[in-house]
Subunit: 306 residues, 4 copies
């Protein structure tokens, strides 16, 4: 929805954004591909070919969240143009609107995350595009401007995930404390075991540090915009998944066997937290760009001192 | 099977061990309980009551591996006697043989580990015992000797799990290397990224250190017996699950989305590795007893110096 | 100075605080003792005995910062009263003003921190008090109120140390980046090695998270006071020393041999950062009290939900 | 001494090795340079120039251990030839014997490690070579064969350091246990605090894993030689310094202020352990080459399966 809101034409908004906002339909986003390392987005191979006033799309996507929901009527698909800007690694990709009922769109299979299929949200699907033909007017913003859109959309999207991770961690810590107060070993409540007590403290510290970083990134995003917030969004992206994985892991340990079972939401939360570390660009890609920005900032500061 | 082999009477062996060895039937082990923190085994509450020449068993167990297998005909159940050694925390528990078809034995439900049910091995079940009556001769070794049996059986059992964890980690590292050699980002194979290369090195180091510790523990177990190997088995127990979790986690990260899906065995391996850190006594219980043994050993060494 | 400012009588302030503010003299603080684990402050044994209108002080202190400075004229000494509140662990201690030239005050020796003596600031001294007699009016706030003063003073004092640690870490990261940009191995600048780049990113992340936590704690301290800020001050205390140790350690590694030598301030900064983890209460004591506060907060929240 | 033993000519051995073995003189090794990142040994710049039947040496070295010892009479100096193998990065360096009293050899200054100068062993020195002229027969093995010698010498040398690190860690753990048994906080001996107990266990585990890895590497070195042991020596090199740093750090924390002072050998041991992580090639260089060897081994194994 954000993509349409920010980059859709009036006509595109009327046709798709309005029913989305009325919750009559849902959308999905087709970016990651099974056959290439999509952490480098320039690797994406799903092709876009102009054919008079249409585009033809061919390729494979997966981890398209919600594609399995019967209400999902429209996909935003990232493609590589065969003709545009062939010398510019970041100018060959486009985003295009593809109605899910277009001939050639095939929902291949739902994927699982640590064995869980998340069916209630429509799952994560592998979707193939087989000579899919859509009107040229379905292109978003213009051919070759896919990365521009991705930059504009992914920042806030990442931050939402991080905030959810903070919320999930708060809940995990609450469960941890409850369990530690209700079970007893070797003559003491679990929370009276110093090691468990220190976990509680470490989890609280980690959550606080992450919350503050998320708020700071959100504040920068709101007041200075997407570009100024890039470094901070990169930082919170790395921190949130890692922190949530750690907090949920502690909570699991305190719950014993119950923690990995379906009796508690912890195993499910772990899958979410773990996935954060590789979704929306794996942490390693973000660390590399944070480093680059830091070096640039240090250089500026040194020059300023001279 | 090991329990029967080591502690069964001739009659018990004849009736149960022989068909087990002929693979005509299978067994399960009912120890952990849902309602108490079973990491302190003295917490277990499933009761054993003598009624003339029978025992009556009442209680709830879970994580009974393989109980769901149709070939599973016999359970070894850990119970607390209501009459024996009431002043000795480690002398009140007993192990008893319970045929699965005894009235009152109820397979309540299969449990999942990170959403996976491991049905192929018969799953992990919650099993309730409701006024289950078995002949007194089904007791193993004698009433109140349950901990003695547990000590004798758990050491080697833990080591087997650790060896499996080493094997699983080797496989995960192999998958990691293959993937790192087949995918490319930012103009380089994944393994040419220094960070990924260092993961490979760290995984190899961690596996080697764990393998050597496991071999050392096994050697001590074989040559000096269960008791002499206690500290080493505690150490390998802590190390193996932790190491395997780390190695598998690295392999998942290198695989991206594919790593958490069912397309690779990594998510499943993670569930196994993570479970190791809380099964057979959570790591924290082992760390506490390793510390106690270390302090005792240090004391001895200091005395020897005087 | 803060202690005198907050808890000194008018007369005490006139005699000692005013020359301190004019920088004519300096003070030192004598709390930690060599013969007991001072992380539990109730362990302190230096005695205070009333003798008519005087007090007599006997005991050993160390890590008295600045005691070796020739301008250091006055010590604040934490003592245990032999007669007051013998049943209250936190009501037996007192703070008292002891002029450094009182007979019986003996500067035993300067201490080193990782081999460095910090002589420029007057060093850290071991100071013995041997039948030292001072007027009863030298007591601060009243006999038995030492912990009250400690609570009031240590919070802000800890925060100052944490802020210094953030500043030191910023400097260490600057040095790291400079070095990484000026040296070359295997055909690349050091910062072009992905592992070094990721260190830079991790250091920046750690510093940001700590800075935000410190600012938040300072804000709470300023707006809601010492008591409301206790949990946050505990958290920043734990985080700051740990973070600074990590950042400085990375910077050392990038500098190679030069990093541990006196050619760069890094070895000195490491000593400071490492000391933070055990000074003003070791991290472990703080983790335990954070856990207690967290459990109390969770309990309140649960009750509020009902 | 090892270098002379393995690579010295008969004459060289007679002149230098024999008095070394009789402990009449000592030697030092001049490799690392202050002006280049010496972790990449090909960076070394100290020049070697043939002048008829002499060589002339010009350059700066530092961290020459023992150079300050008055008994130190001979240096082994790594130099870069200006004429030999200019196209082979690993064929330009040579090792040459330089008597310490040769004109132009200047002991510039002792270096400190975390403020400690290790004077008792002759310290670590910065040594400059200013038009130093020695007979051509002083060359070891032949011009351009410096790396060959380094490979032959550094493996066993690294292992010795690792074994020392294991020994130091054992001593640190012993001190930790003693202190934990002699001090008390909050009504318990320190070792009765669960967190401290777990440190004890973790230290024992880390030491055992490192000892086994060191023994395994030594066994491979003894039975299969330097080359076959390369991967294992790389692994133990990385593990030993890291482990010793961790164990000594725990011991310091248990000792409180005393731990960082000179009252205990811990601060000194920390300096040694920390230095191990960057001496003899920083850990990162070793991790990179372990990764390369692992990938090669995996490839072999995969080919073997086909």
């Amino acid at each position: 929805m954000e993509v349409l809101h920010l980059y859709g034409s009036e006509e595109q908004k009327k046709q798709w954004l309005e029913p989305l906002l009325r919750a009559e339909i849902r959308s999905c986003f087709c970016m990651t591909e099974p056959d290439v390392a999509s952490s480098d987005a320039t690797n994406m191979e799903c092709t876009l070919q102009r054919d008079k006033d249409h585009y033809i799309i061919n390729g494979k996507k997966w981890w398209s969240s919600g594609a399995g929901n019967p209400m999902c009527k429209i996909a935003v698909v990232m493609c590589r143009s065969k003709t545009v800007n062939q010398n510019d690694r970041h100018g060959q990709h486009s985003m295009i609107l593809v109605p899910m009922d277009t001939p050639g769109v095939k929902k291949i299979r739902p994927l699982t995350v640590f064995g869980q299929d998340d069916a209630s949200h429509g799952g994560h699907f592998e979707v193939h595009f087989d000579n899919v033909r859509v009107p040229a007017s379905n292109i978003l913003l213009g051919e070759g401007r896919g990365f521009e859109i991705a930059q504009g959309r992914l920042g806030p999207g990442r931050l939402h995930h991080c905030m959810r991770a903070v919320g999930a961690s708060e809940y995990a810590l609450e469960l941890l404390c409850k369990r530690a107060a209700s079970r007893q070993t070797f003559g003491k409540k679990l929370y009276q075991h110093e090691v468990v007590a220190h976990w509680i403290a470490e989890c609280r510290i980690a959550i606080e540090q992450t919350r503050l970083l998320a708020l700071h990134a959100a504040h920068t995003l709101d007041t200075k915009g997407n570009k100024a917030a890039r470094k901070q969004i990169g930082m919170i992206k790395v921190v949130a998944g890692r922190m949530a994985s750690k907090v949920v892991d502690c909570a699991i340990q305190v719950h014993g066997g119950a923690g990995v079972s379906d009796d508690f939401p912890l195993a499910h939360m772990y899958a979410y937290a773990r996935t954060l570390r590789l979704a929306d660009g794996p942490d390693e890609v973000h660390l590399s760009s944070i480093a680059q920005m830091e070096l640039r900032d240090q250089l500026r500061r040194m020059s300023a001192k001279l």
